[in-house]
Chain length 336, copies 2
DNA sequence: TCGCAGTCAGCAAACGTTTGCACCACTAAC
DNA sequence: GTTAGTGGTGCAAACGTTTGCTGACTGCGA
């Protein structure tokens, strides 16, 4: 690998001048500039970001921790983050944590050693306090938390208004005439799950419907969780609508219904959450509480970029308002 | 940020000793080691990977270029790569290229400047030759190409046997009694598309069925492409089975069929490619030519890791054999 | 003739590590 | 009482940049 000194020798100037030509950091005569540029081209020289980072203590790298990139929600979110970073020449370390505290902590350690300029935390398993402590201690890396809440960590936050989302969904179903509405949520120790359940409860009560506790289920955010919960729920009959924790779960619900010979939306209405693209291609098309996930990723990255120049500004919280995406999986309940 | 010298001062040893304690690179007395470890813990010191990389010229970073992480195939592949890297403390730069030559080239430039230890190329749009040239010229970064072929680039290769896959799929359909089988492929300038089409052609001819050219369509790998192609194909009637380019396209096909009131598998059989998890949750469950995508990612990373220690070994090509995953989207053709 | 501003460029000190080389103190062997 | 080995340690030179400081030269006004 050729270095800046090799280029300088070839161009017949000092390596200081080469550096300034490359970065445009001071006036250089046309002649010298031309010679440098030619030398660079001829040698295929590319400057070492490693050395630059050491000198300037800026790496132009963000670390992004997600539970699992295989989940369409996080894929879309990550894509949004990356697209924004791309515009400003930041690179992204992708870290899948699987909601495994150990893996997450080790990743965090690695990212700190690598001196990333910023951190996106869309995962936060295990002792969140431990994470917060390590962050605060070692680096004060600017951090944005997405869709989680980490007590004791004073970081910017981007999250969906799950309460409003659940109310929207429940409202939509109530409007169609449903009264027996189940709510599937994520793990109960995530407060987004609690928030959603609360929204569902509130919406039903405000409509004068008393929610049954056995219609309130929790699991993880996978299709199989949705499938299993729907199987047990539908076996008992009664419910005419299901509000799923996310679209992937909802797809599991559709599958369970199909297997049981329950037609959607005629006999059962299903509504998802997130509004991933794929929801438009399953059958029936999945009505969902849609969120601008890609844009959310962009916002997250922007927040982080802002923090770099203004480290002391007050903490910010961006709340994304969801809206109903109507497709075909919701209709009026069957007449009894 | 504290440095190795701060630690040394606190522990009352030279920073050489601290380095050796941290890396286990030479014998250090119990006493000195203990003092160093205590100092490290007290100060929350974490070594700078940047400085280390500069000195050792090893970054422990791989760059992974994919068209779009939002595509479940690449999400799964990336996940497989990352899981393998995780075991060996490598980090992954995620680069979405959108099959856009310009974006890809700029990413490649960035990755070279960042001195990544290896490269996974699952995207290769634009002038592949240009890419190859740049790689060969500037760094000779060990590279593994996945599912693409880049003429003139002498890199290791991991790919699915699309010919065999298409034959498997066509064979499966022929066995059920189908004769009017369409084949949807990816862009025709990708040779995996051509290979698949060739496999389909061969299987049909070997069975004594003359394939019709109008049953051979190409588009990109998206659900909407599958949807559009299926719409135009099904409008004309005739075909009793569709072999889709991948599962995402197949989901688009299912959607088109449902909208047209064509029931799958009674009136139309559909078979996908890749075998993504989600295929098990759409309705009807998608029969597919399954590939161990996650494992493929792992293999890719392993190949790259191997290349690091053996840069001169001969070029390797790993070919993944697919197999049929039977679910519910394939049945015998309707009787006429 | 001198001083001064303006333009262009080079020197060398960092940045935080790894690692070859050298040194010291001690013990065992001759 | 030298010599040779051995266990423990430190010095200082890289690695490839950025950037503050300094200097050479030119042209201009006094």
């Amino acid at each position: 690998m050729s270095t800046i000194k090799d280029v300088a020798a070839r161009a017949g100037v000092s390596f200081t001048t080469v550096s300034h030509v490359l970065n445009g950091t001071r006036r250089v005569s046309e002649e010298a500039r031309a010679r440098v540029e030619q030398a660079v081209a001829e040698m295929g020289y590319s400057p070492s970001a490693v050395a630059r980072a050491l000198k300037t203590s800026e790496t132009f790298i963000f670390g992004v921790l997600v539970p699992d990139i295989t989940n369409p929600f996080f894929a879309e979110l990550t894509r949004g983050i990356e697209d924004r970073c791309w515009q400003t020449d930041y690179s992204v370390f992708l870290c899948n944590c699987d909601d495994d505290g150990g893996r997450q902590d080790r990743y965090l350690q690695t990212l700190i050693e690598r001196r990333v300029d910023g951190l996106v935390l869309a995962a936060a398993a295990g002792e969140a306090a431990e994470v917060a402590k390590r962050l605060a201690r070692s680096n004060n890396v600017p951090t944005v938390v997405v869709e989680r809440r980490i007590p004791g960590l004073d970081a910017d936050l981007v999250r969906i208004d799950h309460d409003a989302g659940a109310r929207l969904a429940a409202g939509h179903l109530l409007e169609k005439g449903h009264r027996a509405i189940a709510c599937l949520s994520g793990p109960s120790d995530f407060d987004i799950s609690r928030e959603r359940t609360a929204g569902w409860l509130a919406a039903l009560r405000e409509a004068g419907v008393e929610p049954r506790p056995e219609w309130m289920l929790t699991g993880d955010f996978s299709a199989s969780a949705g499938y299993e919960m729907a199987r047990s729920l539908l076996a008992r009959g009664e419910v005419t609508a299901i509000l799923a924790g996310n679209d992937v779960m909802a797809i599991g619900v559709l599958r369970a219904a199909a297997e049981l010979g329950i037609s959607v939306p005629e006999q059962l209405s299903v509504i998802g959450f997130d509004g991933i693209d794929l929801g438009g291609y399953v059958h029936p098309g999945l009505t969902s509480v849609g969120c601008p996930i890609h844009e959310m990723g962009g916002t997250t990255a922007s927040l982080l970029l802002e923090r770099l120049t203004n480290r002391e500004g007050s903490r910010r919280e961006v709340i994304i308002k969801p809206r109903i995406i109507e497709r075909q999986s919701v209709a009026a309940p069957p007449r009894t």
